[in-house]
């Protein structure tokens, strides 16, 4: 059948300067990964579409040829809810007949690409170019996924996270992360200071957790358990577990933290993207005692993507040493660490 009714034209989309364009791995459908050309917000997407006849000499009737630039959010488990937040069309040819191999140039000038590409558990945000040869029975369609990274400037204020937490008369600790906002190739630097230790700690780790929320508008700022909307769907994922301490410390010990982020599969923090979903990141400090009880304290951090070339201009000193007033506000909040029964 395919031999008879299959596409008789090969559609190729060639992007301008694609040899030099950076490519990134993107998760596409079914968990497969594919290399995609990378674009930034406001960048012009231009190129040409080549139509190649499979059997030279044949003719193909069509009712027009167009190319679209589409940005869409797809919520899994809800196929119907496929939402296009960007859709631009360029007409390449009017109704007519294709009798020879043809090339069409196209250009979407300074396209707005407001969101970063994202492929999560329950949601997927993707951009692609779609060429359609409109036909009477079934259109000939070719799609080319594109990757989009949104760049952020280095934040003007980036205070450290400093907090004193604990369980009364058992454990008082003070922790500090040098920033609250990290770029994706950043390093989390910090320390844990033990003020009181009466439990037999076996080890301590930090985790990077990702929380993907879909289906409900999310505006809550803090990490306290959230009241979910009727359709809200939360997906938590531990990106990494990183042991930072082995053994039982005594009062007065200060344990360093240094975690390089670039090695992990992270995205920028996304808040309320198109009112459809959010992706947030947390650092979770976990202490485990000799009976495998876990004590933890989770803090949200903001991740952002920084332009590559800016990297070198980042000042070499960090505002880590100076404690910010924000930290001291909740310093007395010592019963904040929650106890969680171990799952395993």
């Amino acid at each position: 059948m395919s031999f008879l009714f299959g596409p008789t034209v090969d559609i190729d989309i060639i992007l301008n300067g694609q040899e030099a364009r950076k490519m990134v791995e993107m998760k596409v459908d079914d968990g497969k990964k594919e290399s995609c050309y990378l674009y930034y917000d406001g960048e012009t997407v231009a190129g040409k579409v080549n139509l190649t006849l499979r059997r030279p000499g044949t003719k193909i009737d069509h009712q027009g040829i167009k190319i679209e630039f589409i940005g869409q959010i797809e919520l899994f488990g809800d196929r119907s809810n496929r939402h296009e937040f960007t859709s631009l069309v360029r007409e390449l040819a009017r109704t007519g007949e294709l009798s020879q191999n043809t090339s069409y140039d196209f250009e979407f000038v300074q396209v707005e690409k407001p969101y970063e590409s994202y492929a999560g558990t329950n949601v997927c945000l993707q951009y692609f170019l779609r060429v359609t040869v409109v036909k009477r029975l079934s259109n000939l369609v070719k799609e080319l996924p594109l990757a989009v990274h949104t760049l952020a400037r280095y934040p003007e204020t980036n205070s450290s996270i400093k907090m004193e937490v604990g369980i009364e008369d058992c454990l008082h600790i003070e922790f500090e992360y040098n920033k609250s906002k990290y770029h994706l190739r950043d390093v989390v630097v910090g320390k844990i200071y033990f003020l009181l230790v009466r439990i037999k700690i076996k080890h301590m780790e930090i985790q990077i957790n990702r929380k993907e929320t879909t289906g409900s508008v999310w505006t809550e700022e803090f990490c306290t358990p959230v009241s979910r909307g009727p359709n809200a769907l939360n997906e938590n994922e531990t990106i990494t577990k990183y042991e930072i301490m082995d053994g039982l410390p005594v009062r007065g010990e200060s344990i360093p933290i240094r975690l390089f982020l670039s090695g992990y599969d992270l995205t920028p923090t996304m808040r309320d993207v198109n009112k459809k979903f959010s992706v947030r990141y947390y650092i979770n400090l976990v202490l485990v005692d000799e009976e495998d009880r876990r004590y933890f304290k989770q803090q949200e951090i903001t991740l952002f993507r920084k332009a590559e070339k800016q990297k070198r201009t980042v000042p070499n000193s960090f505002p880590f040493k100076s404690s910010s007033p924000q930290g001291t506000n909740i310093l007395t909040n010592t019963s904040d660490a929650s106890e969680e029964k171990s799952d395993d």
Partner: protein, 816 residues
């Protein structure tokens, strides 16, 4: 059920198996240049060090095996780096390891490779490594991790002087990570420098402080019932902590100033503040051992003050003694003679600090206090050999302490006594001159704190020292001093036990006899005073002692008299003095007589008479006569045993025979008395032999009237011999009789050959015939064999003499 040890072995074996497998894989990957896979296997291997099940010993073995394998990794990386195949961000890469133990071991390994391939980065890397190690708070694992850090950085620590202008202060300790992460970028920046010795000191001290904390923490973890085991384990691990101090001492740029200002204060602060006895004791000793003497000398006060602040359980005595011993050897070590800088009052500092420590520790056992004084006295003697007052100061302090503690009559077998004895023997053995001891004011008084046994043994030690070193005692005061020190050897003591071992007693008194030989005054008059002093002391010794000591004094006095005679030209009063000496002797011998001794005084009188006869002082004949007559008196009154009588009379006769100072009026009664005494002996054989001996008196005896010539009174000789023959004839015992005949024959031969004309060949022939007749009748036994041999030898002599003609005599007509 496995024993704990078997279990350990099993666990260790399992872990080592993993190590072998993983390290094999690691090397294979590295050979194929698959660095990432290699690191993964290295990390797997290192995960074995995360165990909590191994004892320190087993953990150590595991650690050693793994650190060997890590060497391989390091070599590989260094090689790659040197070929220019630098792996970007390797330092960052290894930090992705999820578990902290493998991560930090890898970080250290990689960090050191970075340092070795580019020195400029080392300052920051070292700082970063030592900080990051804080993540391991488990004592055992932390100690080994930090030991690995120390071991790896051994040869790369910055050891350069600080820049004069540089003087930059290190502020960023934790702010370095970005720079570290992008290390390859950082080295180009102007911040980078190779560091100075200051950085090394900071690095090691931080590591030391952290290791010590971990080590001390072990003490407080686990059940109290396992305490002993835990302390044992801690002792096994101490070297790990001590290595930090060794590293500090290996820094060449650490000079006295830096040691004083930077190194020692930091170390002491850590040691004192950790408040742990085991750590303090070990680390203080460590400090003493690893740093040079010159440094200790400059920091004595701070070190000793720290000693005073140590935990009460610390045996601070050992620490201080170790330091003192070290410094005491200081001036004795090596080829170059080194002296303690004069500005350092070594002795005073120690003396003060020690008394402070003793004050601060009222519970310190007295033996430990004495041990400290021992160390102090050693110091005084080794470093200030000429300063007697230092030694005396120690003795004084010790005495004060004993007085304060109310100690007395220290039991010889007790610990305090043992230590004190050590203390008191040190000056003796060190000076090897007992006279020096007399200059120590507090030596004698301290002696009084001993019990009898200890005092005696100290006294013996002292005397033996004098004997071994042949120390001459040149003045009466010194004699007085020494004899007062060694009281238990001189006279009875109030605390003396009832019974003492007789053999030991005799031996000890023998030493005293020998000691008297050492008394030698600078002048003869001095010597006289010395002997008088000695006599006074020894005279109190009681009957048991004087028999051993007074004879030596008497002999010394005789020698002194001869000396006066020898130098009579120089001293016109010599005759008076000699008389006095002999009076002294007479009196001394008299003391022996009072002690119910007979033979000994008799011999001393005879010896005295002999000495007197050699010197012609006024009255000497009278004095000699007195001595001889005293000997006779003793013979007659005190000697009753027949054997002793024979021996005594033989001695008297032979002495008399030698003396030439008597005029005929003294000589005659004396020789008659001798002959009489000899013939009055109880047993016939004794009579016979006594009379035979008398014959010599008439032949070679000399009287002043005869001009000092031998008397050669052949007639009297003959009479004696004849009388002897008669007495022999009366003997009932045949073999004794023959024996006597042989002896008489020998006497005949003697005088014949001397030219005594009264002796006829016929008499000899008769005697020989008589003996030859009797000999076959003797029972054959040992005795008769003896006689036979004696006789045969005599005949052999005669045969020989008959053949050889002599101008003095002829044996013609002798029947042999």
């Amino acid at each position: 059920m496995m024993t704990p040890q078997e279990e350990q072995e099993k666990l260790l074996e399992e872990a080592l198996t993993v190590v072998r497998t993983q390290s094999f894989q690691m090397k294979r990957c590295l050979d194929k240049s698959k660095l990432m896979d290699g690191l993964k296997h290295a990390s797997n291997m290192l995960s074995e060090l995360r165990t909590s099940l191994l004892s320190p010993k087993s953990y150590y073995e595991l650690y050693m095996a793994i650190s060997d394998e890590l060497c391989h990794l390091e070599t590989y990386l260094l090689d790659e780096f040197s070929k220019g195949r630098k792996v970007t961000d390797l330092y960052e890469l290894v930090q992705y390891a999820g578990n902290i133990i493998p991560r930090l071991y890898l970080l250290i390994t990689v960090g050191v490779v970075y340092i070795k391939s580019n020195e400029l980065s080392r300052k920051d890397i070292l700082k970063d490594l030592v900080e990051m190690c804080r993540g391991v708070q488990h004592p055992l694992r932390g100690l080994f991790l930090r030991n690995y850090l120390l071991q790896c950085t051994k040869n790369v620590l910055p050891d350069a002087e600080e820049d004069a202008e540089g003087g930059e202060v290190s502020v960023m300790s934790h702010a370095a990570p970005r720079a570290i992460a992008g290390l390859n970028k950082m080295v180009n920046s102007s911040d980078a420098d190779a560091g100075t010795v200051r950085d090394s000191i900071d690095f090691i001290q931080l590591n030391f402080a952290e290791m010590n904390k971990l080590w001390v923490r072990m003490q407080h973890q686990g059940h109290s019932r396992d305490r002993e085991k835990r302390e044992q384990e801690r002792r096994e691990l101490r070297i790990l902590v001590g290595t930090n101090l060794v590293r500090l001492s290996q820094l060449e740029c650490v000079d006295v100033e830096k040691y004083k200002k930077l190194v020692l204060p930091g170390v002491l602060e850590q040691v004192v503040s950790c408040k742990d006895a085991i750590a303090q004791e070990y680390l203080m000793e460590c400090v003493i051992q690893v740093f040079p003497d010159e440094y200790h000398l400059q920091t004595l006060n701070s070190f000793l003050q720290a000693c005073a602040d140590l935990h009460p359980d610390v045996n601070v005595k050992n620490v201080i003694i170790a330091l003192i011993d070290r410094l005491a050897q200081f001036s004795h070590k090596g080829d170059v003679a080194r002296t303690i800088p004069t500005e350092i009052q070594l002795f005073d500092i120690f003396s003060q600090q020690i008394s402070l420590i003793i004050q601060n520790r009222p519970d310190m056992p007295p033996e430990d206090i004495v041990s400290l004084q021992v160390a102090l006295i050693n110091l005084a003697l080794k470093c200030y050999p000429t300063k007697l007052d230092y030694v005396d100061k120690v003795l004084e302090t010790t005495e004060e302490i004993f007085h304060r503690l109310n100690l007395d009559h220290l039991n010889a077998s007790g610990a305090v006594s043992r230590e004190l004895m050590r203390l008191m023997k040190i000056p003796v053995d060190n000076y090897n001159n007992v006279l020096e001891l007399l200059k120590l004011e507090h030596y004698g008084p301290l002696m009084e704190y001993f019990d009898y046994q200890a005092r005696k043994s100290m006294s013996i030690h002292l005397i033996l020292n004098a004997l071994e070193n042949e120390t001459s005692i040149p003045s009466p005061e010194q004699v007085e001093g020494i004899l007062s020190l060694v009281g238990p050897l001189i006279q009875d003591q109030t605390d003396q036990p009832e019974k003492e071992d007789e053999e030991d007693f005799v031996e000890e008194q023998g030493y005293m006899g020998r000691f008297i030989q050492l008394l030698s005054g600078a002048t003869t008059d001095q010597q006289y005073l010395i002997l008088n002093t000695a006599r006074k002391h020894f005279g109190n010794g009681g009957n048991r002692r004087i028999r051993h000591t007074l004879p030596a004094i008497v002999f010394a006095a005789y020698r002194l008299a001869l000396k006066y005679y020898e130098f009579r030209e120089e001293d016109e009063k010599w005759e008076k003095k000699c008389q006095k000496i002999f009076q002294f002797c007479h009196q001394t011998i008299g003391a022996l007589i009072k002690a119910e001794l007979a033979e000994l005084p008799l011999r001393l009188f005879l010896q005295g008479a002999l000495v007197i006869s050699q010197m012609e002082f006024e009255n000497h004949e009278t004095v000699a006569y007195e001595f001889m007559s005293q000997a006779f008196t003793l013979y007659e009154d005190e000697i009753s045993d027949s054997k002793a009588q024979l021996a005594a009379i033989t001695l008297i006769i032979s002495t008399f025979e030698k003396i030439s100072c008597f005029g005929e009026e003294s000589h005659e009664p004396l020789r008659t008395q001798c002959a009489l005494a000899a013939s009055k002996l109880l047993k016939k054989p004794d009579q016979c032999r006594g009379v035979t001996t008398c014959s010599h008196m008439f032949w070679s005896g000399k009287s002043r009237d005869g001009g000092g010539k031998e008397m050669r009174d052949g007639k009297r000789v003959m009479e004696c011999l004849k009388k002897a023959g008669r007495i022999a004839n009366q003997c009932m015992d045949k073999s004794v009789q023959v024996q006597l005949y042989v002896e008489i024959l020998n006497s005949h031969i003697y005088f014949y050959e001397k030219g005594c004309s009264e002796i006829q060949i016929t008499t000899l022939n008769e005697l020989i015939a008589k003996i030859q007749e009797d000999i076959p009748n003797l029972e054959s036994n040992d005795e008769s064999d003896q006689i036979n041999k004696h006789f045969a030898n005599t005949i052999a002599h005669l045969k020989l003499a008959k053949q050889q003609s002599s101008p003095n005599y002829s044996y013609a007509g002798l029947d042999v």
